[in-house]
Symmetry: D2
Subunit: 432 residues, 4 copies
Amino acid sequence: MTLSSLFPQYTAIRNRTKDLVEPLLDEDCCVQSMPETSPVKWHLGHVTWFFENFVLRHYEKPFKTFHNAFDTIFSSYNPSGQPHPNPKRGLFTRPSLPVTRDYWRNVNERMDRLLNQSAEDEMLRMLFVLGMHHEQQHQELILTDIKHLFSQSPLNPCYNSPQALQSDRAGTSPLEWHTFDGGLVEAGYQGEGFSYDNESPRHKQHLQPYQLASRLITNGEYLQFMEAGGYDEPSVWLVEGWDWIKASGCSHPLYWRRNDGGWEEFTLSGPMPMNPDLPAIHMSLYEADAFARWSGARLPTEFEWENAASRQEIKGCFADNNRFHPSPASAGDTGKNGKLAQLYGDAWEWTRSSYSPYPGYNQAKPNDSEPLSRVWNEAVGEYNSRSMVNQYVLRGGSCIIPKERIRSSFRNFLPASTCWQFSAIRLARDVT
Amino acid sequence: MTLSSLFPQYTAIRNRTKDLVEPLLDEDCCVQSMPETSPVKWHLGHVTWFFENFVLRHYEKPFKTFHNAFDTIFSSYNPSGQPHPNPKRGLFTRPSLPVTRDYWRNVNERMDRLLNQSAEDEMLRMLFVLGMHHEQQHQELILTDIKHLFSQSPLNPCYNSPQALQSDRAGTSPLEWHTFDGGLVEAGYQGEGFSYDNESPRHKQHLQPYQLASRLITNGEYLQFMEAGGYDEPSVWLVEGWDWIKASGCSHPLYWRRNDGGWEEFTLSGPMPMNPDLPAIHMSLYEADAFARWSGARLPTEFEWENAASRQEIKGCFADNNRFHPSPASAGDTGKNGKLAQLYGDAWEWTRSSYSPYPGYNQAKPNDSEPLSRVWNEAVGEYNSRSMVNQYVLRGGSCIIPKERIRSSFRNFLPASTCWQFSAIRLARDVT
Amino acid sequence: MTLSSLFPQYTAIRNRTKDLVEPLLDEDCCVQSMPETSPVKWHLGHVTWFFENFVLRHYEKPFKTFHNAFDTIFSSYNPSGQPHPNPKRGLFTRPSLPVTRDYWRNVNERMDRLLNQSAEDEMLRMLFVLGMHHEQQHQELILTDIKHLFSQSPLNPCYNSPQALQSDRAGTSPLEWHTFDGGLVEAGYQGEGFSYDNESPRHKQHLQPYQLASRLITNGEYLQFMEAGGYDEPSVWLVEGWDWIKASGCSHPLYWRRNDGGWEEFTLSGPMPMNPDLPAIHMSLYEADAFARWSGARLPTEFEWENAASRQEIKGCFADNNRFHPSPASAGDTGKNGKLAQLYGDAWEWTRSSYSPYPGYNQAKPNDSEPLSRVWNEAVGEYNSRSMVNQYVLRGGSCIIPKERIRSSFRNFLPASTCWQFSAIRLARDVT
Amino acid sequence: MTLSSLFPQYTAIRNRTKDLVEPLLDEDCCVQSMPETSPVKWHLGHVTWFFENFVLRHYEKPFKTFHNAFDTIFSSYNPSGQPHPNPKRGLFTRPSLPVTRDYWRNVNERMDRLLNQSAEDEMLRMLFVLGMHHEQQHQELILTDIKHLFSQSPLNPCYNSPQALQSDRAGTSPLEWHTFDGGLVEAGYQGEGFSYDNESPRHKQHLQPYQLASRLITNGEYLQFMEAGGYDEPSVWLVEGWDWIKASGCSHPLYWRRNDGGWEEFTLSGPMPMNPDLPAIHMSLYEADAFARWSGARLPTEFEWENAASRQEIKGCFADNNRFHPSPASAGDTGKNGKLAQLYGDAWEWTRSSYSPYPGYNQAKPNDSEPLSRVWNEAVGEYNSRSMVNQYVLRGGSCIIPKERIRSSFRNFLPASTCWQFSAIRLARDVT
């Protein structure tokens, strides 16, 4: 496969980013609604900067930066070299969105020229592919971040058409338990395609027999937990979770709102009546764990999840359908053949596994002494082992990522208090 | 004077607001750079809402609001009825700037219609005049707030043309001391024009003989304080000021920056080499007090200032010249006739007087039992006695307010830590 | 008057400090219950250190410190030379209370020897007298601080005998208004005795005619304010006061507690049923101002207070009676002759005057170039002008200070949020 | 084994607690030096309350509490039922230490009477044994907490005799690597004795081949990391660890202090010259991980540790020798037979394993519907699964616990930022 043969996929991904920004005002793209999120314009500039900084800077001859200051503005690294989100990103009203679009276009043209002229080069290919995956991750963040911003507005803006959600049928499949034998299994990525470092090496894990719920917990089921006083009963919460709900005043899922005696849910299609058949989303790990404990179950480990998921075809509600909200589990999704509904897509599923390195994991890749290896290490830096503390693994993807991003070995990871992600609950239990 | 005769002034003020917004991008107008500031778009909507809410709502027949939600978005009162700045104003990306301009235009048309049709009505006139003064105050805030926002940008945007400051001549008049006899004097507003409640009633104050410096402290003089270790010497600081510089890390005026061994100053015309002859501005009261103590002087009381200022013509560097930065004091400004340079305009002058009510002050105005009095009290609420604690009085106006806003009795007031205002130092001392 | 003639008074004050510590366990004396307070043991060591450091260090020949580290432990200055309370004072379990008592005794002996041997020396006399006043101030803090500590205990310890308060008769005198003419008056200390710098120089103030309430506001009156929803009505609060009650959750005076449908008040004699006839104490300025606004009155200025107080004999409920709680105002205390009840003693009275320097005030005393003047300036440092920002003046003394400490010109000063002091409300109003 | 046959061990443990308090002043026992620690007096009262509340309350006939309020004061549960440390414990100066000792004595007598009179009862035996283990855990905390308190004092108090450390010989064994095969192994408690819930059930884990360092990292080795700029190099730190050292200002181990160009270490025997051969202790997980990353190694998992430890005799430097500080590893401790030095005792060893439930773990024990089961669940509550988030496992015990408390399956757990525990670094690495 030649380098230029990757270009159609590259173009499709780059255009998708541009399309996601299309429905938004310049002002919508500029504001940062909390420290954990970034302005949409920053995401657009940052994914563009990634190609300029990690590919063009090293391969374009002669390299000429689009604008010197963009390295400061669109880098994800703060001055101390730390890859954490910068709460001041929302102060950068300049460059304007139109200028940021010019930057996007300029880098696309230079990348096109480069890839058509370059001979095959393993490192170039790796950086190029990494940039595409990096960009898809930021597409997901564009949607989570705009959802959070719009949820703050008294005008209740819609990012997506309300029609996208209005035809939802009623009803969901009953919750059933599927049994898995466990034993000595393998986990981690295998294959020839792209995967992140954190999915390797493939290795053995020993599992006790276990059961997984046939689908995600629904809004209706979560409402029962709430109505039974779940948020007032310390014994079902992790101690740290209880402190968190007391300190934050949290008493319902992040985007639920009371509405004339009932509940509505803010979605990317605006506020909607809460549909009891849809999965309960925007769960923190604390809430997911409390619900599980309250219902006499527990969360799965990431290896229990992967062992089940690796047998099943990747299929579900992904961003490809432009719905940007989970779908109800239909009766047909589960059945005699042990298929688990909503396993892929819909919403990320919290596991009880802390984010930690696999046995034999080594963050450095190719050969550290070569200059380009340093580029690689810097480019891949956001995914390395330095994040591996006090975060928990989520699996399975969501309705705002494209299907092609997910695999059974993919590990997402977030702090336990995170609820602005599309995160949901799949129950597990022991076989006794 | 008929009501409609006020309309030209009204139109001029409203257009000035629109003109101040003109040089800005939609994105510039949307962002709030710190809790104490507001987005420019919010200021534009808020001054418009003031006329809609306090005038049209009560006099327009029938009253039809432009948009229901604007009452929430553009009011300065938070849900508990408190008139403090709302740190969430920067999250309102909607309405867009164009829609906010439509609102501005719509209210202007309705006000025009109303004023042409109304018979003379004292309360209507008072609210109308109050609205104009209120708007001019927000014009000042538009400039302070955009200066703060632009100062955060790595792109160093210019709000105003750099030419506005480039022709500054060198040199300043020497600092001299002018003596005032004191004795039993009068303070507070007298006359027929507009004034705020806090300037009344006119009353007697007894002053010891005192001296005032002939001009404001310059950047050059303030730099001497810095180079003498002023920020490292606790004995010249108020205890609370010392805690403040330690906690904030402050070691120079807010908009100064180191630059190749020297200093530059960020202005509304962008970064400029620090001009030692211009007044040192953006001083907190703590810094002003420390400088005064270090130089063996003190800050004046507001009554010492007013006693001197009431004898002098109102003249100086105001926003009317569109310079938006103080000017140097020329030798001609002071002289044998005891004139004080930079007394009006240029920059607000800190006094050592805490903001407190004058003897006999009563916040309620006309007759509290009438419904329109309640409107008045609400409209004028931001200026009432409930702010009169832990703030300090500044006098004399600045280069970003129009000359017509100032009078010798005008009282500005800010917390001691404020440095985003155009605030400066005039020294005083006792006659011994 | 020879130096040694001051010794009886010195001995009485030093013994009083020791006596105040007597009822306490070693453990009671060691703990600091909040950053604004200090452990009793620290007060005992600190007043002793004051004499060792400011008197003995300069006059004892040869000087030999009791313990090197006590300079660190018992100084009120933190390493940066700042005289603010040290939140780590409560961590010093050593020296033990018995050792601190040895220190007290050792310094007393050395002071005795010094004063009997010294010739008259103005500076020595000044430092000696200052040390006695300093010690009496810390006697007051011993009582405020132990009250705060004991109020936290589930065991409700009594510092003083409950009998001290049990015989309180019911009833209080009616609230009346006494009128004062104002005009050009004098304020500030005059005389030959001791006074703090902040009471000087005596100077002129012009006052409008005004009225003062004949006594302090009672618990019963304050309860009416509470029951009328005072803590829920933003319009009666200073904006900053409203923010303070919302942030702190304050909804009643600091030491009130609900008790079977009623209220009790924690006192130095333990919890007592709330007596409606006693003055409401432990008021913040915010609460005092809100009560005054709610009742259509205001707080007096410090000069209105002083003008009234300077005509009246110093008499009232002071620490000399070992009651350590205010007394009700008896009908006999006020009357035809315009006497104000509870003017001295009982509780400090908030004024609306910010703490600021008098005209002509100069912090340095004798001659700054002499070495001993530096000692003086350091010793007197806690009272100088560097505290004169964002604090408000209280007048009149309280039931936990000795009568000899107070005079009509005495200025106490505290931040507006302070409520652990014995502070109360005397209303004022304009004459119209 | 009859119940009363446990009494000698009970008596020994109870007396040990009393003995640990012996060297302390009443004041030392009263103060809480940070929110994570408790006053020694609280520990003494709390372990006593444990027997009164969980044993006597249910078995003593008739039950008569020593003091009603002690349930509030000495419970580890705050009003909301949460078992976290109470930052207000240090405010309870009452009951005094002598009264708390009376409480200790009273409960001992009542326990003696009860155990001599009771028939065998499984739940009573379980609660009794749990109480003994609970008490030994608080003995450890008495020592960690008093060390933290004393480290704050300018007087540098010694808890233990300085002689205890003065004879330490120089030299340590070289760091070697011992290889373990891994494979499918078993982990978790097996046997008939006492163990905590979190050590069960015993289950299978699959391990890759791995190596463990032959001893703990020494002060000397850690100093090399510091001198190589370890605290200034973000790339060796977990992102969260870097944020932690920047926010806390940490740049060396908690109890190290600079001293004339060198370092000293504060110990329970007071400040000592830093001995390069002793293990580096009071490490946070962040520091342990950074050291490991810097040296090209990693921390072990808890299962790698347990697999190695389960083959080795329990032997080492424990509190039984009253040294209260780790010992150097002697050459004889490691050798041909693959023995790991300092594996038990000396200091807890951080693992990279987050604290999480073993497969099949179920917090409830005997039968939940019986009343006494609820008592058990409450008593054992501090050790249950509700703590299992954002904490990391430490293994092996320390020099301040008795040898009898430790086993190869014992799991200690702490937040990653904890450094007031006796925690150290044992390196691991993969076999490649």
